[in-house]
Symmetry: C2
């Protein structure tokens, strides 16, 4: 570990861009969601993942895995969503320890209401700013990056 391979100018540019963009985009979206529909970005993500399931429900652990949050963070957010009536908890019939988070009708409705604005913001801040080539490169590159991190760290 004596000599370090420092970042080249190009690499530094990519790193700084990535760092700044990830903070700023996240911030902007969080803002938009909170202003327009009283949801935090993490909460929105939970709703999306539940809505993607055929039954509209998912085990807490599965939800935590696919998601950014720690397990305890998930517990917190699901509790918030439950207070807001957007999600309901259901204990798993075959395993008393297990808990499903279930999307309620209100939750589904709220998501439907929130989605257009959210997608528009994602476009405005990120997607529509990129050229098609950049878009593909990001999908491929960052997809690889995240799947590696998921594999090891998690």
């Amino acid at each position: 570990m004596s000599d370090t391979r420092w970042l080249s100018a190009e690499e530094m540019r990519a790193w700084r861009g990535f760092l700044a963009a990830s903070a700023l985009v996240n911030r902007a979206l969080d803002q938009q969601l909170k202003d327009d529909c009283d949801l935090s970005h993490p909460q929105y993500e939970i709703l999306v993942r539940l809505a993607a399931e055929p039954e509209g429900e998912l085990r807490m652990t599965e939800l935590a895995n696919g998601l950014v949050n720690s397990k305890s963070g998930l517990t917190y957010q699901v509790t918030q969503l439950e207070k807001a009536g957007l999600v309901r908890r259901r204990t798993c019939p075959t395993d008393v320890r297990g808990v499903f988070a279930v999307l309620t009708e209100a939750g589904r409705a709220r998501l439907a209401e929130a989605a257009p604005g959210h997608v528009a913001a994602v476009r405005a801040h990120l997607i529509d700013v990129l050229t098609p080539e950049q878009l593909t490169a990001i999908a491929d590159g960052l997809g690889e990056v995240s799947s590696r991190l998921r594999a090891t760290g998690h």
Copy 2:
């Protein structure tokens, strides 16, 4: 705003990749820094920015602007760094309200100590995973994304 332009599969892939990568990479780096040298990622960024200045000092506001944090967040982190002896506050001679954050010798030393491990982690998790084309696309694309967000929202 009646009909929404939803994301295509490719766009969704890019968005998900971006979202996951930004969370996971940030997390991994924060972890590495905390484990190896008792610094949070925001703290490390502050040190880097100070070290990049010829005098090793910067006004609080300038620091906050170039950085991810809100002003109050910056106050907090600088206070932490001050407690750790890595940074010192100095009031601006020509404007009593103004405050410079000044990198101390200890701060410079800590940064020098932390940098190799940090760079290695950035390489391992992000840079070295990308092809040169992806790297350039990310530098260009996300650079543009972040400068636009800086311009408007900030």
